[in-house]
């Protein structure tokens, strides 16, 4: 199949169509608006469901409604507007409805700024809404991965009946890069046992999140977390580079992965044994593998475009086996390869000085 030069936002939109998207509901916000623009035309041509929703609140709840019928449904948004969606995500998790949400992050807090940032990590992986729940969160680092992980988001959402988020950022949304649209590679999931289709030849069924008794509520949450455990065992995904002989482990996700790879190459040239672990699924997080690697390295350095969010999960995984440092900047003019290279050397100097 031919490579095409395509923008991340369009890649996500076309990949969703290839994955069998049946309904899209959205509200404009930079830097992801192209997704809704592209789909407004494509969905109409295909006779599929499309609504320019009156708000992000409405959009995510339309997705919840559509997905409750078993349809593949999606909304896309950015940071401050994703905050508006947290209630529905909590419902969808409790309801076990397979919705797909794309967050093309901008910088926060508040309205923030439209340049790329990774400040929504905690909101995405810790559950930004109320109660005990977890999303599945996938973080692409290239336009090709925007396609591949959009496919996977639909598959995992429906396989596990759990809301799934593609966590991209303004850089991935706006940039163009050659990519290949392969066919949707996953099997279709049978949803006939739970989807709302009208009570034909059976009793009515309800999708709801409320329990009327303490016991049933407890059991419901235990069941949800047993499912999350299964997801963790089956679906945790990460990438590793040069970890075999590494003394120093760099950890970054999403678009920052690109920069730490180049920094690793540079630092290796300078004689430092640097390796990389890049979580692909931020939830479930590859804690086990980070724990294993931490036993073999002296330093773990987390690089992220925020004030330090993933670093806390890395520390929990390392469990004190290695020194954990953070190299970061909160907004936009993301860390250049040179800055990362220098920052890593600074960290190491301090680290050695303290030995």
């Amino acid at each position: 199949m031919d490579k095409v030069l395509v923008k991340g936002n369009y890649a996500i939109a076309q990949a969703a169509l290839n994955a069998g998207l049946e309904c899209y509901f959205g509200y404009p916000i930079t830097p992801q608006t192209e997704i809704g623009e592209y789909l407004s035309d494509e969905m109409y041509k295909r006779g599929l469901g499309y609504v320019c929703a009156e708000s992000e609140l409405a959009a995510i709840n339309m997705v919840l409604g559509a997905a409750s019928t078993g349809a593949k449904a999606m909304t896309t948004s950015s940071s401050c507007a994703v905050s508006l969606m947290q209630e529905a995500l909590s419902y969808a998790c409790s309801d076990e409805v397979p919705i797909v949400l794309v967050n093309v992050m901008r910088a926060g807090p508040g309205l923030g700024y439209i340049y790329p940032a990774q400040g929504d990590y905690n909101q995405a992986v810790k559950g930004g809404g109320n109660g005990d729940y977890k999303l599945i969160v996938l973080a692409p680092s290239t336009v090709q991965e925007c396609i591949d992980y959009t496919y996977k988001a639909f598959y995992l959402a429906h396989k596990y009946r759990n809301p799934t988020m593609l966590l991209a950022d303004g850089l991935l949304g706006q940039m163009m890069e050659p990519a290949v649209f392969g066919e949707y590679p996953y099997p279709e999931i049978d949803n006939s046992s739970w989807a709302l289709t009208g009570a034909k030849g059976r009793d009515g069924r309800a999708i709801f999140s409320v329990a009327t008794a303490e016991d049933t509520q407890n059991q419901h949450i235990y069941n949800l977390f047993a499912k999350f455990k299964t997801i963790e065992e089956n679906e945790t995904e990460w990438e590793e580079f040069n970890t075999e002989d590494a003394d120093i482990l760099l950890v970054a996700f999403g678009s920052m992965t690109r920069n730490i790879k180049a920094a690793m190459t540079e630092l290796r040239k300078q004689g430092l044994k640097v390796g990389i672990l890049r979580p692909v699924t931020l939830s479930p997080f590859p804690s086990k593998r980070i724990h294993e690697l931490a036993a073999k390295v002296d330093n773990v350095i987390v690089v992220e475009m925020n004030m330090g969010q993933m670093v806390n999960d890395v520390k929990l995984a390392v469990e004190g086996q290695a020194k954990v440092d953070l190299v970061h900047r909160p907004v936009g003019q993301w860390l250049s390869v040179e800055e990362i290279t220098q920052a890593v050397k600074n960290v190491l100097e301090k680290s050695y000085a303290s030995v």
Binding site: L64, A66, A73, D95, T197, A206
Partner: protein, 249 residues
């Protein structure tokens, strides 16, 4: 001879948990009868809401999705756009429909979603114990308007059926009551019309039910129905506010 039986669309063995004298029970029964009469059970998906209406799925033997507070119209829109061949209605209180969910309710009507909206107006937040809602009448005492609702602080009640009738996507909007047998029969006829308009795909159809809340009004069921007649109907007159099938003729 059997003169009275439980509709097929009511769950077998289920018991309504509404307070004595609450009109929800009558309205749910009307709904169930119509679902039976129009043979809709096998194609119906209902978006329930938050409030006293939340447990509708415990009583009706149809497919239901519980919507977050105020979002029933959004859920119903999602359902209908995904499955246009289904019969979709929302069942909401006035707080859900006209306060927290007003944006969704209005925009759904403006889009002309082929959905039926049902709003139960009892002039208070019943589930949480009788606070002031968007439809609370002027002068009405509630736990959050203890001196009575006065406009200087609390503003004015919303006339839902009239507002929805103003939306160009609305095909049908009416207000009914269930305080007397005559009104119950009329309400059923009007709700049937609203359902038929959806089935014909003519646009959004809406019915507002004036209803009692004896517990929070601190009244007997009879007194509560008296209040519906003597106070509510003055502010919220019964009637059909829009019907494009009539205007077209």
């Amino acid at each position: 001879m059997q003169v009275f039986k439980i509709p097929e669309s009511i769950k077998k063995g289920s018991k309504f948990t509404f307070c004595p004298g609450c009109d929800h029970g009558i309205i749910v029964r009307i709904l169930a009868e119509l679902i039976d009469e129009l043979e809709l059970k096998e194609k119906t998906i209902c978006a329930t809401s938050i409030g006293c209406s939340v447990f509708l799925y415990d009583f009706l033997n149809i497919d239901c999705i519980e919507s977050p507070h105020g979002r029933a119209m959004a859920e119903a829109t999602g359902v209908k756009r995904a499955r246009p061949d289904k019969f979709v209605f929302t069942y909401q209180g006035d707080g859900d429909f006209a306060s927290i969910g007003l944006a969704e309710s209005m925009h759904g009507a403006l889009r002309g979603e082929k959905i039926t909206g049902i709003c139960i107006n009892n002039t208070t937040y019943g589930m949480t114990g009788g606070q002031m809602g968007p439809t609370t009448l002027l002068g009405q005492k509630t736990t959050t308007s203890p001196m009575g609702r006065f406009t200087g602080t609390y503003g004015y009640p919303i006339k839902v059926a009239e507002q929805i009738a103003l939306c160009d996507g609305t095909a049908f909007s009416a207000r009914v009551a269930v305080d007397t047998v005559a009104h119950i029969n009329q309400a059923k006829k009007i709700l049937k019309k609203a359902f038929e308009i959806q089935l014909k795909g003519l646009g959004y159809s809406f019915v507002e039910f004036l209803a009692t809340c004896p517990t929070n009004w601190k009244m007997t069921p009879d007194e509560a129905h008296e209040r519906v007649r003597n106070e509510m109907m003055n502010v919220y007159p019964l009637g059909v506010y829009k019907d494009i099938t009539v205007e077209d003729k």
